[in-house]
């Protein structure tokens, strides 16, 4: 791989991405357009996250990559290998050891600490997109803080279903200003966004946007006083580690309706099952 620069991207491109990240950090939740490059991974596979990670990673970093909370899912393996190959940095599956955690669809159960950076892969960055397909319009709505349409949508859900019928990618408001998509994490993970000690970076490659939640920033999930935001719960614990606190994946074990529930965060589950060192 000597033909490619450290982290694949050339230094000018990395600087361009870092400038976008700095702007994003300065305006929490604001989507900064950036000159997203074509990566050797397919769009939809995390090209935004990969570009963010490639731009911030240094030789001393320790990288963890998860998809659906797990380190061993094929796409997580593929992205981890990409960086192992193009940077030579140390990789880990342990949340506590990592300095950068690139993730798709989950926030680790183990609380992040100050100094860590979580990089989220984002398919559609615009929280208003399903309500207004035009980018020119939604940018104006954000600029004018014109978010009535989003509250009406949530209200319609409550009128129709008795609750907000959004299970993942549940909209939040960052720092009391911009409405933001947390990326397709389950709403179970939304509370972890609020005042998180780690820096949270969001990269959308195909849509060419970067946004951020700086450490300790207030992040509220949108709700109403009489319909407060609530997360999903399971009526049984993880079948492997017994946790009642974690997000559980449902695994179908036979064709007779048999199923079991296990932690989606494989590192968290492993840590709970291993004796303390």
């Amino acid at each position: 791989m000597s033909a490619y620069n450290f982290g694949y991207l050339d230094e000018h491109t990395k600087r361009m991405v870092r400038r976008a990240i700095l702007k994003a950090v300065a305006i929490p939740g604001y989507q900064v357009p950036f000159g997203s490059r074509e990566m050797p991974l397919s769009y939809g596979w995390g090209t935004g996250g990969v570009q963010v990670t490639a731009s911030i990673i240094g030789p001393d970093d320790v990288l963890k990559v998860i998809d659906q909370g797990a380190d061993d899912t094929t796409n997580a393996v593929s992205i981890r290998r990409f960086f192992a190959r193009t940077t030579g940095v140390r990789t880990t599956t342990r949340t506590r050891e990592a300095t950068i955690i690139q993730t798709r669809h989950r926030i680790p159960e183990t609380p992040l600490r100050a100094g860590q950076i979580a990089v989220f892969q984002v398919p559609i960055p615009e929280p208003l997109r399903w309500l207004e397909p035009r980018e020119a319009e939604t940018r104006a709505m954000h600029a004018l803080e014109e978010y009535g349409i989003m509250h009406v949508r949530l209200y319609e859900d409550i009128a129709l279903h008795g609750r907000v019928a959004t299970a993942y990618d549940y909209p939040v408001r960052a720092n009391g200003r911009y409405i933001m998509r947390p990326s397709p994490i389950p709403k179970f993970d939304n509370p972890k966004l609020d005042r998180n000690p780690a820096l949270l970076l969001f990269g959308a490659g195909r849509e060419k946007r970067i946004y951020a939640v700086p450490p300790w920033t207030k992040v509220e999930s949108l709700d109403f006083e009489d319909h407060p935001f609530a997360v999903e719960r399971w009526d049984q614990p993880c079948a492997l580690c017994g946790s009642r606190e974690s997000f559980l994946d449902e695994v179908i074990v036979d064709d007779k309706g048999g199923r079991m529930f296990i932690c989606s965060d494989t590192d968290y589950c492993r840590e709970r099952r291993e004796p303390a060192p």
């Binding site: 490619y4 596979w45 659906q68 796409n75 669809h105 980018e135 299970a167 397709p184 994490i185 695994v251």
Partner: protein
Amino acid sequence: MYVAVKGGEAAIDSAHRLLARARRGRPEVPELSTGQIDQQLALAVDRVMTEGSLYDRELAALAIKQARGDLPEAVFLIRAYRTTLPRFGVTEPIDTAAMTIARRISATFKDLPGGQILGPTFDYTHRLLDFDLAKPERSGDLGTETMDEFADPAPMPRVVDLLDQEGVIETEEPGDEGERVADLTREPLQFPADRAARLQNLARGDEGFLLALGYSTQRGYGRNHPFAAEIRLGDVEVELEPEELGFPVAIASIGVTECHMVNQFKGSASAPAQFTRGYGLAFGEAERKAMAMALCDRALRSAELGEEVQAPAQDEEFVLYHSDSVEASGFVQHLKLPHYVDFQSELVLVRTLRAAAGAAPP
């Protein structure tokens, strides 16, 4: 007890090996060379160069071989490679009026300076399978004519320039020398996009997508009364002005297909009736692409020309956001990546909603 599936690493390695074997096919069949692809699947190479936005026949042929003939996949390989290339400079605009012509036709004039040159076209072939081609190579029956024998040595002005002299077509002022042109490979697409950015997007756009949209304008979804004023195909010189020289030097010759559509325009109280333009340009021989592109370009000028924007082909965000096969293919196919966390959340929600509605369990 069930343990969550491990082994992503091993699975990926095996998949790569299987793919390499599938690409090669049965070993008793001779392996395809990139030279054969370049020469005998030349139009596939042209398409990959155009949509990959990289003019390099050898690399495009390699990409086609590696992609097992899947052209959008080959385009993707080229794009990913292209990202890593350094940029030495920006060339002068190519001059298609000075093209070495291989084909030049006009549907608007029976004859014109320079004449109509049919060139190597499928247009008037009968689409009958030629079973002789399935036999080992025939020799001696391909003729030896070259384009030089047919080409009129007289200059071949562009049809739109002839119309321009009469004033019946809108004039197109070239931009100021040194004026910055948008570069979609370096900057995100922003709306409203200017015409240069739109044309770049269309040039990189998927041929099938542009073809369908162009076709839709002909069937009444944003009709713009097109005439193919001219299609020309041939080689043009690419010139670069190195800073230290101060004058341009030719650095390459590339094959391009150019299409000028002339379209009607009613005129208004302030402007007399005039034809308008749609423009298409592609690398190599890519007539279908260039024509579809010209129809889309004209459709996207609706707002600028004061026409009502109603049809999909006229809708800038709709067309430009969805034209790129690499983006589209990636996002459509990412649906096969695991989504079980989101699906689990939805499952919990649907069960809750069903319980609340008193639905009987199955």
